[in-house]
């Protein structure tokens, strides 16, 4: 593309152009030399500059890194090297994932001065695949929250309605993709932190099976629950990214050596999809589920039935205990994982540091000043449920309930292959609506939490949303549906999702 042609692309049709760009389309355009990686990367930065002051999806841009990465791809392309599917693709990365040499704050004051000393395994894999990193995205501090309002640095707004939250904790990543400020993004999901913001922002979010993707270089929140995953514009893109970043890693002992069938992930066959049976768990259609959400789910079921997929009502009887179970286990792990942030390792951030003279004082002051309210609340709660005298009543009890929840899924998966539920009980709520009431905030993850407790893969996909709640300027508020798969059967949820997408395109 010549300079003047690019200028046309970037100025007059920039919006439409980036708007319609997916990983797949970008790859085709780059391969057929319609544009260079440098031009598109530059266009993304221009677009971010113009739009992100309203949305605040990014904490920081990594412009130098991105443009040099893009240049390298263009040189390779000119030399006639094979173009990998992610080569030159500009992505956004959640700020709890380490990129060597770049700050990684997890949106916490305590890590304000920290710079990553190595690449997370997912970043290493993406670099090898030729992907480009536009910047690090905003999130709830240490991924603790459901609205991105717990960031120590700024509040991200939902691009569909600026008065509403983008969801969380990967709210910045979801907002960036939704507002076309990145081709796709990485997030992390401990109790719904990829799927819920994807649902609120009208994009795709995949939480892979526990063990499918290495967490080496992900700032740990709750290690028995955390997973990294993609946030994308299409299900097909989610499959592409998942394929690139999954796999066993010696540096994460919980990662599993599982051989995925690439063709099944990327090119699912309708005849196989039709053989899948989908379960509808009655426990997910509860009081408190918004009417617009339940209607959207009904429509989705109708659409999927047109593919001749069989549906069956199932029961997951221990679902109602999942929230309590999660809010005991997760804080317990948080209190242990966050002990490492002590003002000595990972740099020191507080203004009090010079006044502290003993080691203990450094710990108390750094952590007291460096952690936000929600993080402190969870550390205290986790310390409580693990403390002598309460361990059995809370932590041990929760682990047993976790077993019951997992057994519910095991039983259900004898009858069905995939489970369909809403992603959240409501669509995106207003900024400030739930900040004073942590319990209400926790309840917004009620449908996504059981999946993490059981270690399953699940995807959040926007429903067709044929009109229900609209914003002031008439845009529709997205409603997501969730497909939950058997362990290591990402292919099932991605496959149904890809055919669902084709139905919508008609």
């Amino acid at each position: 593309m010549t300079d003047s042609k690019l200028r046309n692309t970037c100025e007059s049709t920039n919006m439409d152009f980036l708007n319609n760009l997916t990983i797949k389309k970008f790859h085709e355009g780059l391969a057929s030399k319609q544009f260079s990686a440098f031009e598109i990367t530059k266009a993304f930065f221009d677009y971010i500059k113009k739009n992100d002051s309203q949305i605040n999806a990014y904490l920081r841009l990594t412009k130098d890194l991105a443009l040099s990465q893009a240049n390298k791809i263009d040189v390779e392309l000119a030399e006639g090297k094979d173009l990998k599917i992610l080569a030159g693709a500009p992505l956004a990365i959640k700020d709890n994932i380490l990129i060597e040499g770049e700050p990684a704050t997890a949106a916490s004051k305590i890590l304000e001065n920290y710079r990553a000393s190595y690449d997370a395994t997912v970043i290493k894999k993406l670099k090898e695949a030729g992907a480009i990193f536009l910047g690090k995205t905003n999130m709830d501090e240490f991924a603790m929250g459901s609205s991105t309002e717990n960031s120590a640095f700024k509040i991200t707004r939902n691009p569909i309605d600026l008065e509403r939250v983008p969801g969380g904790s990967s709210g910045g990543s979801a907002a960036a993709v939704s507002a076309d400020m990145a081709l796709a993004a990485l997030g992390s999901d401990t109790g719904g932190s990829i799927r819920q913001p994807a649902g609120f922002c009208g994009v795709i979010g995949l939480k892979p099976t526990y063990g499918a993707i290495s967490r080496y270089g992900l700032i740990a929140m709750a290690s028995s629950l955390d997973q990294v995953g993609p946030i994308t514009k299409t299900v097909e893109d989610a499959a592409i990214l998942f394929k690139e970043i999954s796999g066993r890693d010696e540096l994460d002992a919980t990662s599993v050596n599982f051989q995925y069938n690439d063709d099944e992930l990327l090119n699912p066959k309708l005849e196989n999809i039709r053989k899948l049976r989908i379960g509808i768990p009655k426990e997910y259609f509860i009081e408190g589920l918004d009417k617009n959400v339940s209607e959207a789910i009904e429509e989705t079921i109708k659409l999927l039935k047109s593919l001749k997929i069989e549906f069956k009502e199932i029961s997951l009887p221990h679902t109602k205990y999942a929230l309590s179970c999660y809010y005991i286990i997760m804080p317990a792990e948080v209190s242990a994982n966050l002990a490492r942030f002590d003002g000595i390792r990972y740099s020191r951030a507080t203004s009090e540091k010079r006044k502290a003279t003993t080691l203990k004082e450094i710990y108390f002051k750094t952590r007291g000043e460096g952690f936000g309210e929600e993080v402190k609340r969870r550390i205290i709660l986790g310390t409580f449920v693990l403390s002598a005298g309460y361990y059995d009543a809370y932590y041990s009890k929760a682990q047993k309930v976790r077993k019951l929840i997992k057994e519910d899924f095991d039983r259900a998966f004898k009858e069905v292959d995939v489970i369909l539920t809403p992603v959240s009980p409501t669509s995106a709520f207003k900024i400030g609506e739930k900040t004073d009431d942590p319990l209400q905030m926790y309840l917004s993850d009620i449908f996504t939490i059981p999946v993490n407790l059981a270690g399953l893969p699940a995807i959040s996909i926007p429903t067709t949303n044929n009109q229900r709640l609209t914003t002031k300027d008439g845009r529709k508020l997205p409603v997501g549906f969730q497909l939950i798969g058997k362990p290591f059967r990402e292919a099932d949820v991605l496959g149904i999702g890809q055919y669902y997408e084709k139905l919508q395109a008609v």
Partner: protein, 99 residues
């Protein structure tokens, strides 16, 4: 299950090495009590003879040889030292551990 007192909160904060702001303690106690009250529902779940589940998908141990093979990513010592809060002769400097 029990209520959380101001005394318990301060003890937990001590264990967790957290300095709490006096004026925020009351709200924190209120929040925590509401959350603990919510957990009461777990009492009714029958967990007799249920084994606790710690998590994971493949419930087996993964071993590696206990040798010196370095598998982590190497980082420049200069870069790491640059992040020390205080340094002396290339070492991380901290106040005495034992007072």
């Amino acid at each position: 299950m029990s209520k959380l007192s101001k005394q318990t909160l301060e003890y937990l904060a001590e264990l967790a090495r957290l300095e709490l702001k006096e004026k925020k303690e009351e709200k924190l106690i209120k929040n925590l009590q509401e959350i603990l009250a919510y957990f009461e529902e777990l009492k009714e779940a029958d967990t007799e003879n249920v084994e606790p589940l710690a998590g994971g998908t493949v419930e087996k141990n993964i071993f590696r040889n206990d040798d010196e093979t370095f598998v982590g990513r190497r980082t420049s010592p200069v870069f790491l030292r640059g992040q020390f809060p205080e340094e002396e002769n290339g070492y991380l400097k901290i106040p005495p551990v034992f007072e």
